[in-house]
């Protein structure tokens, strides 16, 4: 049994084939959910967002004129669902979400040490201004090129590049700030020595 190609399914679904559509949405549910999770950092929220994204999927597939843009289209779909959701909820509870989920997956990577470092960086990424955060999540979290990210966000490619640059600068500053606070209570400074 050979799986039908993505573009075949898209074509059929655009023509109104509900089985093709079902196959398509089932196949990409996981992808959409993963994107939603990246932005919401909470499984329940991600499920809600993905559900809405699936409905948008149904409404929008007819207007996807260029199947080559499917991937970025899917991202935009989910991101719009994320924004709607966050507007509904009324607040972005990203930080709490990150805190909530962290202890459930302690250091699966390697050590608590690297997990902690990762957690610190993550916290800073989610604390970025929204536009920069979206660019970072798309490019580094989603493995999109600057051009693709630009399509998702409907901005110029150079704008994405600029946001990435600015976000990185901010992160470096934040992380350095964490590592180089002055010792407290007037500890003699190393600068004074040879």
């Amino acid at each position: 049994m050979t799986e039908p190609e993505e573009w075949e399914l898209i074509g059929l679904a655009r023509e109104g084939d509900s089985r093709a559509f079902e196959a398509l949405v089932t196949r990409y549910y996981e992808t959409m959910y993963a994107i939603a999770y990246k932005w919401t950092r909470n499984a329940a929220d991600a499920e809600d967002v993905t559900q809405n994204a699936c409905i948008r999927f149904a409404r929008g597939i007819g207007s996807l004129n260029n199947p080559a843009l499917f991937r970025t289209w899917l991202y935009r779909l989910v991101l719009n669902a994320v924004r709607d959701f966050q507007r509904q909820v009324g607040r972005i509870h990203l930080h709490e979400a990150a805190e909530e989920t962290a202890p459930q997956q302690p250091g699966t990577d390697a050590s608590p040490e690297s997990a902690l470092y990762a957690k610190e960086i993550l916290a800073e990424v989610y604390a970025l201004p929204e536009k920069e955060r979206d660019a970072v999540l798309l490019v580094f979290g989603g493995d999109l090129s600057h051009g693709e990210a630009a399509q998702v966000l409907r901005v110029a490619e150079s704008t994405v590049s600029w946001r990435i640059h600015s976000a990185r600068k901010r992160l470096v500053k934040k992380m350095e700030g964490k590592n180089s606070r002055r010792p407290c209570h007037g500890w003699p400074r190393p600068e004074n020595r040879a």
């Binding site: 959910y33 699936c54 050590s111 997990a115």
Partner: protein, 675 residues
């Protein structure tokens, strides 16, 4: 931070698998919406040629299979669930390999040092990772559930605990990328830590100078506490408070204190006064001592008897095999004329190797290799035989030493601690010293180790890795084996005119009475060649933030003029005996009431580094003990101080320490979050 860093971090964010119901609901809702849209299109475009043709076709296609939709839906969903599980779990497995493990391995390797170690640990870890992948692939092929089935909590705890005691090599717990293991290991509480026995003690309290101006203690060059603490933290658990002996943590590290000019004086104290980093207005008085080192050709001969515990509980990779490897390392450092003997104790004590010259390496090696663990422990019998052998090859110009290696209890024979202590003490008088090496965890009798080593004029060290074995037995071989001074006592008299209160950090288990200082009959700690000893007092200068109010009548007394020594915080006295002497000598130096200000020269830089590093370690130890006196001084502050004073760190011990503080920070955070 570069893009790669960010990418790794973001890619390693694990997405928990979505709920199956949520997925079904979403797909079905989408399908309904899809069909609604199609119907609407149909309605809107009726009449238009193309549209009607298209929609007509789809409507036809759609209606018939409509009833079967949910069947399809269910099937498709079920298939995807399996697929999704495969994908996400594989991601889980791949990530640790590609992501943080690489970084971690790097850190570990830098600690490990010799190429042999690197190979062992790196390849071992790789094998473990591969084994895990294979196991999961196997499960996938045979169609078993690919998701980690949650093991019942009890069973899992039993498994892990059992393994840590039997077959699990050191480091495995902390670093092997096994999903199930890591999850459980980081949950504190179930580990077999309760049976390690530590002497209970409270942190030294703050003393009022006017009431108790003199502080006396014995030096302590043991490092066992640090190694034990490290092992606990590496397992994701904060150590028991009694396991933390701050002075042993500080003294684990080597400091470049200035050496005495002549051998006549075995060491020279360096006193540094700095502001306390955890309490505004207080100061630290930092006392550093380094013993002179013996040049290799001046080393006296060694007459060593290894007393090895081969009881059943030693049958674990981090015990007997590690012990064998450790002793092989030690053998390498011995001269050809040094003698070695091996006595084991397990049920029946037995002499495995009669005193043999170190040049007959093959004979010693094969005796070592033939050791097997099994039987009950009868430490006392073993000790008698060991001392017997040491006596039979006694050489008054040599260092005669019994080296006891054990994982804990002395189950049979003299189990009375006092009796055993007396035995060791008597033998010490006859010139045979005792060192104790602790192995393993869960059964370790730290208190006994300390007692025996202290009474045997030796060191107690805890060996958890081969790298630790190398540190204790090779790098510090001369200090472990060759004492340059014995019964070293420190006494500080504070000046009530300048100091209101003081507190000695650590050395709780080494406190001496004031009158013991001048009593040469009172035993105290020993210093080996090249050993460093550091002691830190926190003082509150007069007028500073005191913890206790001045008593009414003391206030009245304050006006008495004792200004002669206004530029001194106190007076430091060190008493010691030469290794073969019974009369003590005295070294004294005043403690200036002047803060250290780093100058632009190498000596000053070294002094700054020594002080800063040991203060960082002292801060860490105090936090681990509950942070009673350190206020809001945090793990981050420790890291910050330590980072700035890391220096050359050729063996990576300091980098390892900083890593340890980070681990402790996350272990503390997790304990806080735990219910």
């Amino acid at each position: 931070m570069d893009g790669r860093d960010l990418k790794t971090v973001l890619e390693n964010v694990k997405t928990p698998p979505p709920g199956e119901n949520a997925r079904k609901r979403a797909v079905n809702l989408a399908l309904a919406e899809f069909e609604r849209t199609q119907r609407e299109k149909e309605k809107n475009f009726k009449g238009s040629g193309i549209a009607s043709r298209l929609t007509g076709m789809t409507a036809q296609k759609r209606r018939d299979p409509m009833k079967k939709k949910y069947v399809y839906g269910g099937l498709a969903t079920a298939m995807v669930v399996v697929l999704a599980a495969t994908v996400s779990f594989q991601q889980l497995l791949e990530n640790p390999k590609g992501g943080f493990t690489a970084e971690l391995t790097k850190v570990d390797l830098s600690v490990a040092g010799t190429p042999a170690d690197e190979n062992v640990s790196a390849s071992y870890r790789l094998r473990m990772a591969e084994a895990d992948v294979t196991r999961v692939e196997e499960a996938l092929r045979t169609g078993q559930s690919a998701l980690p089935t949650p093991m019942p909590q009890k069973e899992m705890a039993a498994n892990t605990a059992g393994r840590s005691a039997t077959e699990m090599p050191q480091n495995f717990v902390a670093t092997a990328p096994s999903v199930v293991m890591d999850d459980t290991v980081l949950q504190p509480g179930y580990q077999d830590i309760g049976r390690d026995q530590f002497e209970n003690f409270e942190e030294n309290p703050v003393k009022v100078v006017r009431e108790e101006p003199v502080s006396t203690f014995s030096v302590d060059v043991d490092t066992a506490s640090y190694a034990f603490v490290r092992r606990q933290i590496n397992n994701g658990v904060l150590p028991q408070k009694d396991a933390v002996r701050i002075e042993e943590m500080i003294n684990y590290f080597d400091y470049d204190y200035p050496l005495p000019e002549t051998k006549e004086e075995p060491f020279k104290p360096t006193v540094t006064v700095v502001p306390s980093p955890w309490a505004e207005g207080r100061k630290l008085v930092h006392i550093g001592i380094k013993g002179y080192d013996i040049a290799p050709d001046e080393k006296p001969k060694s007459n060593l008897v290894f007393l090895l515990d081969v009881s059943g509980s030693m049958n674990a990779p981090d015990k007997l095999p590690l012990l064998k490897n450790s002793f092989k390392l030690l053998l390498e450092t011995l001269g050809p004329d040094d003698t070695v003997a091996i006595v084991t104790y397990a049920g029946n004590a037995g002499t495995v190797l009669e005193p043999t010259k170190a040049s007959e390496k093959a004979k010693i090696m094969s005796a070592l290799e033939n050791l097997n663990a099994g039987g009950a422990t009868a430490g006392a019998e073993g000790i008698r035989q060991a001392y017997g052998l040491a006596k039979s090859s006694f050489d008054k110009d040599a260092v005669n030493r019994v080296i006891l290696a054990t994982d804990g209890d002395f189950n049979v024979g003299i189990t009375n601690r006092e009796e055993l202590k007396d035995f060791v003490e008597r033998e010490r008088m006859s010139g045979i010293f005792l060192s104790v090496l602790g192995f393993g965890q869960g059964n370790l009798n730290d208190h006994m180790m300390q007692t025996l080593a202290q009474n045997g004029n030796g060191v107690a060290a805890y060996i958890d890795t081969l790298s630790e074995a190398r540190k204790v037995l090779v790098e510090e071989a001369s200090s472990t084996l060759f004492p340059i001074a014995k019964d070293v006592k420190i006494q500080v008299e504070f000046n009530p005119a300048t100091v209101a209160e003081y507190r000695l950090i650590g050395y709780e288990t080494r406190a001496l009475n004031r009158e013991d200082f001048n009593n040469d009959a009172v035993d105290a700690g020993d210093i080996g060649a090249g050993h460093t000893v550091t002691a830190i007092y926190e003082i509150t200068p007069v007028g500073g933030p005191r913890t206790m109010d001045e008593t009414r009548y003391a206030q009245a007394e304050e006006h008495k003029a004792d200004t002669d020594f206004g530029d001194e915080y106190g007076f430091l006295k060190i008493r010691y005996k030469n290794p073969d002497s019974d009369t003590s000598k005295l070294i004294t130096t005043p403690i200036p009431a002047k803060e250290f200000s780093p100058q632009r020269n190498e000596r000053s830089a070294t002094q700054w580094r020594n002080t800063t590093w040991s203060t960082a370690v002292a801060g860490f130890g105090q936090i681990l003990k509950g942070g009673k006196y350190t206020g809001d001084f945090s793990y981050d502050d420790v890291i910050e101080l330590a980072q700035s004073a890391k220096g050359d760190d050729p063996f990576g011990y300091r980098a390892e320490f900083i890593n340890l503080v980070r681990l402790a920070k996350s272990a503390a955070a997790m304990e806080k979050n735990a219910p």
